[in-house]
Amino acid sequence: MLPLALLIVAVLCAVQAVRAARLLVSAIWLAGVSALVALLLYWLGAHEVAVIELSVGAGLVTVLFVFAISMAGEDLTPLKSLISRPLALALVGVSVVAIAWLALPLIEQPVTGESPFGTLLWQNRGADVLVQIVLIFAGVLGVLGILADEKRPATPGVQTADMVEDVTPELVTEIVEPEKELA
C-alpha cells in the first residue's frame, strides 16, 4: 500500500507545515507535501503533472518561500490564534465531512479508457495556456508593482530599480540581525 503510505506522510507533512513555529521549517514541510503529492500523482499515472508539480511546487515555490522569508524575516513570537481551535476544527470538520459524505458514495468506480497522456495536453487545452500567459503577465506586473520602491525625489535620468537591487541590503540586515528591525 505505497500510495496510502505516501498520502499519510503527505498529510503529516501538511500538519507539520501548519504547526511548525519557524517559517523556514514550515516552508520545508510544504516542499515535502509537494514532493509527496507529486509522487502520488506519478503513482496514479499522471506522470507529466507529477514532474511539473515536483519542479514548480516543490522546487520553484520553495525557493520563493525561502527568498521571501529571508526578506521578511522570521517572526518567532508564538501567536495565539484569534479563532479558538475547537471552533476552527468544527467549522472545517463540518465542511469537509459534509463534502465527503455527500460526494464520495456517488462517484462511480473508474471507467478505464485510457488514451496516451502527453499528446493531447496542449492541443486540447490550448486556450487555457494562452490565458495562462495573461495570468503570468498580470502576476509579474503585480509583483513588480508591489515590491517597487517609492519614486524618490527624482535625480533626473535615474530610474528606480525593482526588487533585487532595493531589497538586497534589507535582506542582508534581516539575515544578519533579524531583531534589529523588530525593536
Binding site: V18, V37, A46, L79, S81, R85, T112, G139, V143
Partner: protein
C-alpha cells in the same frame, strides 16, 4: 482501497488541513503556505476526477494550469507579505485589522 479513493481522500484531507491553517494561523507567510496546501488538494482532486470519468487527459491538463495559477497567486501573496513586513514591521495578520466596521 484503490489508489483513486486514496487520491480523493487525500484531496479532502489536504483541503481540511489547509482551511484549518487559514483559520488559526496569524503569520501571513504561513497563510500563504496554507493556501498552497489547499492548492495541492485541488490538484489531486482534478487528476482523480479525470481518472474517475475516464477523461484522464482532461483532468491532467487542467491540473497543470492549476499548478501555474496557484504558483502565481503564491508569488503575489509572498510579495505582499514582504511589503507588509516593511510597512507594519510584523507579519501578524491581527495587526492588519485597522479597517473594520
Amino acid at each position: 482501497m484503490t489508489s483513486l479513493n486514496i487520491a480523493i481522500a487525500g484531496a479532502l484531507v489536504l483541503l481540511g488541513v489547509g482551511l484549518y491553517g487559514l483559520l488559526i494561523m496569524r503569520n501571513l507567510i504561513k497563510i500563504v503556505i496554507a493556501l498552497q496546501i489547499l492548492g495541492k488538494g485541488a490538484i489531486l482532486a482534478l487528476v482523480a476526477a479525470g481518472a474517475i470519468s475516464g477523461q484522464t487527459n482532461l483532468g491532467q491538463s487542467v491540473a497543470v494550469t492549476l499548478i501555474v495559477a496557484d504558483t502565481v497567486v503564491a508569488v503575489v501573496g509572498l510579495a505582499l507579505a514582504v511589503q507588509v513586513r516593511r510597512r507594519f514591521g510584523s507579519l501578524d495578520v491581527n495587526e492588519l485589522s485597522t479597517l473594520r466596521g
